[in-house]
């Protein structure tokens, strides 16, 4: 949808250029404002979209700046006003005049309605998806330092396949319902929860995280995440209640293995 903004910008620029050729400062002015509006909205395609307030501010500034620019020279300003004047008074502009007198008040009424009508916009809470983990946690009475923590099972090379298989069992008995049979976040309970369960496929979840982080997240679930990550909405269980330390490491081995992702090690 946002793709229409660059098009708006182009149309504005075209109008502006044609107006320069036709020597009509008013339409040049309008073209510039349209192009600017399209541009300000269009940056949302590249960087996070600008808030409406900011856009409004820029637009007001630009309207004033260009009004001043076009009114410095008396002759230009007269030509600037000419279309407005002629629409108001000239006999051969009767049709346009009727149209303007009909549509502009209606538009004004509509804008007023839009502004005063009651809004129904439920609050949205921005949340940090991968918050800073605790440096140290209590895990079933044992203190575990998360910082620099490594998956101990990776060193057990001979039994690694068994650990992964065990992780598979744990996954399909504990995680399946939300994170899904294909680890895509589309389990058969997923729809019930908001925020929705994260997928493990793809490059923007566990592929970005060191295993120590994943351990903390699985062990502590919603309980330990900071307020900025809206713990009150999170349906991620605290698996310290259900799994042992070894089981958590095993299921972590499995989710990396099954998605072909590698934990971050730096």
């Amino acid at each position: 949808m946002a793709i229409i903004y660059p098009i708006i910008t182009l149309l504005g620029l075209m109008l502006s250029i044609i107006s320069v050729i036709k020597r009509s400062p008013l339409f040049n002015f309008i073209g510039i404002q349209i192009a600017l509006y399209g541009g300000l909205k269009g940056v949302g395609l590249i960087i996070p979209p600008l808030p409406g307030q900011v856009i409004l501010m820029y637009m007001v500034m630009s309207v004033f700046a260009f009004l001043i620019y076009f009114s410095i020279d008396d002759k230009t300003f007269k030509r600037f006003l000419e279309p407005i004047r002629s629409v108001f008074v000239e006999d051969d502009k009767r049709i346009i005049r009727s149209l303007v007198f009909f549509f502009v008040p209606i538009l004004a009424g509509f804008i007023t309605y839009w502004e005063v009508k009651p809004r129904f916009e439920p609050p949205v809470s921005a949340r940090i998806i991968h918050p800073e983990p605790s440096t140290e946690i209590e895990f079933r009475g044992k203190t575990i330092r998360i910082l620099g923590l490594e998956n101990p099972l990776r060193k057990d090379v001979t039994n690694l396949p068994q650990h992964i298989e065990e992780g598979k069992r744990i996954y399909y008995q504990n995680c399946l319902h939300c994170h899904g049979a294909d680890l895509d976040g589309k389990g058969h309970f997923a729809q019930a929860f908001n925020p929705p369960p994260l997928p493990f496929r793809g490059t923007d979840t566990i592929a970005l995280l060191p295993e120590s982080f994943v351990f903390w997240r699985v062990a502590k679930g919603w309980r330990d995440i900071p307020e900025g990550s809206t713990p009150w909405d999170s349906s991620m269980p605290a698996f310290e209640d259900f799994l042992t330390e070894k089981e958590i490491w095993e299921v972590i081995l499995f989710i990396y293995e099954a998605t072909g992702n590698k934990p971050r090690t730096w």
Binding site: R85, F88, V89, E90, D91, D92, R97, V100, F101, V104, P105, I106, A108, G109, F110, I111, T112, Y113, V116, K117, P118, F120, P122, P123, S125, K168, R169, Y171, Y172, Q173, L176, H177, C178, G180, A181, D182, D184, K186, G187, H188, F189, A190, Q191, A192, F193, N194, G221, W222, E227, T230, P231, W232, D233, S235, P237, A238, D241, F242, A258
Partner: protein, 478 residues
Amino acid sequence: MRIFMAIILILFLPLYAFSEDEGKKLYDDWCAQCHGYKGDGKGYSTDFTFPKPRGFVKGIYKFHSTPSGSPPTDNDIIRSIRKGNPGSSMPPWKRFSDNEVKALVNYLKRFSPENFESPAEPIKIGKAPRVTDELIQKGKRLFEEAKCWECHGKSGRGDGEKGWQEKFKDEWGDRIYPANLTYPWELGNGSDMEDLYRRTITAGIEGTPMASYQDDLKDDERWALAHFIKSLQLKRKLGIALRMVKVDSAPSSTNDPIWGETDYLDLPIGGQILFNPRHFTPTITNVRVRGVYTDSEIAIMLEWVDKKPNKGDDGMPSDAAHMQFPSKIPEGAEKPYFYMGDRRRAVTLWQWKASEDSAREYIAKGPEVVTEQERQDVKATSTYTDGLYRVIFKRPLNTGDREDMGFEVGRFIPFSVTLYDGWNKEEGNKGVISAWYYLMLEPPMHIKVYLLPPIVSLAVYGLGLVLRRKLGKKYKIK
């Protein structure tokens, strides 16, 4: 000639073998955890989902487009894999290539080769007749005459008597329930017209009490039935906030016409798997919420399908429903935990129980810390009709109780729902839960919304007239 055949064989054998190995590898990696490494339906997830994964060694496939008693076609199996079976944990597998899916199909067939010795053709299907009221009425009649209601219930919600007999099981010995035909998202065999007509009513669901009606009903009768079932299907209205409008007096009965005019919201719900005992095999999948308010009162109605009502006197727990609200309306984004609150932030819990058909108010600070409120301000009434529970909760907007939050007009107020199906032994933490949603008592439309726009229009028009007059005198050139 023989040499030629031999060459062809040698050329193709590795290809064949390759596809078998590939099939086995894919199956062991992605299907065995549920369907079992031996294809016996005993995988890791078997006791953690309902319905259970299919065992393939018996050679009975529930879902097919072929006549009853014959094996599914390759395309039938491909369809189950590609589209999944809604209402179960069998997901749609989109990630595999067509060749990989073919390899999987070949591998599945090897669990019961004898079953696939004489392949069958899909049932021929004509064009669906155009839907008319008459056709739907005819379908409705047939639904009675063919005794579909004995299992599916009078309104198709799966609440028929037969479903509650102890021996109501499938070929694999597992308990099964007649489908709720009003929830298309639960129909594993597909919910559009052709699926209903061909795959379910004509072919039947193999190995279950859902028989084929190919011989008992004529072609046009089966189409009529399919149309009738289609007409029963609910459309889910998903969202995050519910509007509640103001009315003169709060409805006290569940079939008050006011409910038909109000906005509603469908909340998908899932098993409670956060606290012990976790609940992996729920039966309820949806609750519909609507509400209205008056000068003094708020009334909220919950609607959900429960195929068998339990009042707690049949050795099963009573059916129940909870509505949860933050005990204090949050100023910012922060809320209590969405299920039962937490130590720092409490939730107010309105509990309705079928056994008493009345409501109680609790304060919860986590599932273990639940205390009944001293002052009780919530009232509830309910009806159970053809598998559908309707429960109305009512409370004064402001109770004067310091423990209660007030319902302020124009505020977004968080709420969540927990439901319990006694037949499924649900009570305590074993229930189905929703996320946080919002409700808002919509302020009555302010008079300025109607007045301001025409005033502004007229003013602008007037201004134009004045300008024209002034300009006309001074600047007219031609």
